[in-house]
């Protein structure tokens, strides 16, 4: 009986979705939820911007448990949504399973660049370029010539952030000291604001007066400790300047919203498969400037950063990616 009820419920939901959609795009959020003030919310903002501008609608679905990933992606594809944007590297296995079954549906996945599926667009970000710019800002804002970096879990992606940051800081001031700490080596390191706060205090006692956090939930602890100690901090992924107005120097933006917006705008006809890297050149990464940090970024700082940005885009300045040879020219781990 209960099985029948489930099946009927599922069929009803499917029918509803199928009725509503024909070649409407869809967005599948990762765990963490739509309003996570970070990654997922950025994607939502991109989708919303597209909907507001075009007046069209899209379908969205929030994954709340691991088991729903494949199920939800399949349901979206089955109902005829096209293209379907899936968020997060944890969904790599999901699209690997679902995308080949629906060759006519266009899929896009964010933060994955290693799959080989013809109807899949894979979007990665040049985090080191954005980190380079905030590293420059950090070194320019620092009065003690010491800047800090606090990473979450010690994985190559986070070293990639740290490496870009250190290169940027050293480019402004070759004598600057960059203190880099990782919160831990297990996934618990993404959610340990207490240790993040203590790391911040220890970096402050070593002289750091600007601290960049690329550490997920741990990062809010870093920003908090920095604000408590009246030093500057740098947020990550989405614009976190508003968390402590006037005390967050800037945020390294990862424009997931632009990535989603682009896929939605291109639609089915303009869809391009393959790996796409979001860089400074296509506004994929950047630094945040808004009313909360306007007083912290002087015109000189802005000019210097814009200059470097132009050079990176033009190819005159290359920021070494940690991935290239698993080491960083500006920072020792």
């Amino acid at each position: 009986m209960s099985y029948l009820k489930n099946a009927l419920g599922g069929a009803a939901a499917l029918a509803l979705m199928a009725g509503a959609a024909l070649a409407e795009p869809a967005l599948m959020y990762d765990l963490g939820g739509k309003f996570d003030k970070s990654f997922n919310e950025a994607a939502y903002n991109g989708a919303k911007r597209w909907a507001d501008e075009t007046g069209e609608s899209y379908q969205e679905i929030e994954v709340t448990a691991e088991a729903q990933r494949v199920q939800f992606a399949t349901r979206l594809a089955e109902a005829g949504y096209n293209p379907i944007v899936v968020l997060g590297f944890q969904n790599a296995a999901t699209v690997e399973e679902v995308a080949p079954k629906y060759p006519d549906t266009k899929f896009a996945i964010i933060d994955v660049g290693w799959l080989d599926i013809p109807n899949l667009r894979q979007i990665t970000f040049a985090e080191h370029e954005g980190s380079y710019l905030v590293g420059m800002l950090a070194a320019m804002a620092s009065e003690s010539n010491t800047v800090g970096f606090i990473g979450g879990m010690d994985v190559p992606l986070i070293r990639h952030f740290a490496c870009g940051y250190a290169q940027g800081a050293k480019a402004v001031n070759p004598d600057v000291t960059v203190i880099a700490n990782m919160t831990g080596t297990t996934p618990a390191a993404w959610n340990d604001p207490v240790k993040g706060g203590e790391l911040t205090k220890s970096q402050i006692s070593q002289g750091a007066d600007v601290v960049y956090a690329a550490a997920g939930g741990t990062g809010v602890g870093v920003l908090q400790a920095a604000a408590d100690a009246d030093i500057l901090s740098i947020g990550v992924d989405s614009n976190q300047n508003h968390l402590h107005p006037g005390e967050v120097l800037t945020s390294m933006l990862k424009r997931v919203d632009n990535a989603v917006y682009d896929v939605f705008s291109a639609g089915v006809d303009g869809f391009e498969a393959g790996v796409h890297t979001m860089t400074l050149a296509n506004d994929g990464v950047g630094y945040a400037l808004d009313e909360n940090n306007a007083s912290l970024i002087t015109d000189d700082m802005k000019a210097a950063v814009e200059d470097a940005k132009a050079k990176i885009i033009a190819g005159d300045l290359s920021v070494v990616a940690y991935y290239e040879n698993d080491s960083c020219p500006a920072l020792e781990f």
């Binding site: 939820g33 309003f35 010690d154 604001p193 207490v194 240790k195 220890s202 070593q206 939930g217």
Partner: protein, 322 residues
């Protein structure tokens, strides 16, 4: 390594030891009464969430603290119900509480605040601020004593002082009062206590309740003292470290203080690879420093620091003879 760096590491040790100390003493009460409690972690987490949530809603950290203690107490009573009244397996009940707390906190946080399982940041009266002890600024210039008093002893949130005061209090309660004697007896030989006409159930329930209150303080300190918000899984295994400290301390309050300070110190040390390098002249990998508390735990559990004998009736539900 200069004196000030050392002081900063000790300062950090004190802050990091405090949640461990609360949890360790919580476990001490429970286990001395014969109830093993591996649910310390879960209770801490629940208390962290409810203290942050209620502090955010009400704007008062004290309301938050009460809510945190209440949540932890409720989980304690569940543990008590399962392991004392229904004589269930205490380890299984503890594990269940850990899972329950991990899931429930995020679920409720998402439904109340829609911030991806977080609570809003606390500020002003909604969090425990650092308190400066009298004369801290006046004595700062005295060599050695000044910085120690002004930086190390002064300038913590009130819960830190409460934690350190709980140690002598626990010692007094357990070793100098009738209640303490009975509580220890119930963990060693409940039948004897029962024969003397004292309720084993009531004693064990009160021990579990004290455990709940202390875990509540521990969690509230994490979310409203050390930090100013709740993030999912923010207790990050501290409840388990506290359990290890409890075994290390051989279920004694003063030893618990030193064990927790040692674990706090090791955690603080892992934050300062530069200082470690300066002292040892070797570049010690950060991963090794991070692992030190766990390595120490393994060494302790392997029995290298003398035999740790748990309360004899620990883990066994008491069945009254008919």
């Amino acid at each position: 390594m200069d004196f000030l760096t050392l002081l900063q590491i000790f300062d950090s040790s004190v802050r990091l030891a405090t949640p461990l100390l609360f949890a360790c003493l919580a476990g001490l009460f429970s286990e001395r009464a014969g109830i093993f409690d591996i649910g310390l972690e879960g209770k801490m987490l629940a208390a962290a969430f409810f203290s942050a949530a209620f502090a955010a809603i009400s704007g008062s950290v004290w309301v938050g603290l009460l809510a945190g203690i209440g949540a932890s107490l409720a989980l304690s009573l569940v543990h008590g119900l399962a392991s004392i009244t229904f004589r269930g397996n205490q380890l299984i009940s503890g594990v269940a509480i850990n899972f329950l707390a991990a899931g429930l906190t995020v679920l409720i946080a998402q439904s109340w605040f829609q911030q991806g399982g977080r609570t809003p940041s606390l500020s002003g009266n909604a969090r425990f601020n650092e308190i400066t002890l009298p004369f801290a600024d006046a004595v700062r210039d005295i060599p050695y004593f000044g910085p120690i008093y002004a930086d190390l002893i002064s300038g913590h949130s009130i819960l830190v002082y409460v934690a350190f005061l709980t140690v002598p209090l626990t010692w007094y309660l357990l070793f100098r009062t009738r209640f303490g004697l009975r509580l220890r007896a119930v963990g060693e030989n409940p039948a004897a206590v029962d024969t003397a006409g004292i309720s084993v159930l009531r004693l064990r329930y009160s021990a579990v309740a004290i455990c709940g209150v202390l875990c509540g303080l521990s969690g509230a300190y994490l979310a409203t003292g050390l930090q100013a918000l709740f993030v999912k899984d923010m207790s990050s295994g501290r409840g388990f470290i506290a359990l290890a400290a409890l075994i290390f301390a051989k279920w004694r309050p003063w030893y618990a203080l030193w064990a927790c300070l040692l674990f706090g110190f090791l955690q603080a040390l892992s934050l300062r690879p530069d200082a470690v390098e300066a002292v040892t002249q070797v570049k010690v990998p950060g991963q090794l420093l991070d692992a030190l508390p766990y390595i120490l735990t393994v060494v302790i559990l392997a029995g290298f620091v003398g035999k740790a004998i748990p309360p004899r009736a620990g883990g066994e539900p008491y069945v009254k003879e008919r």
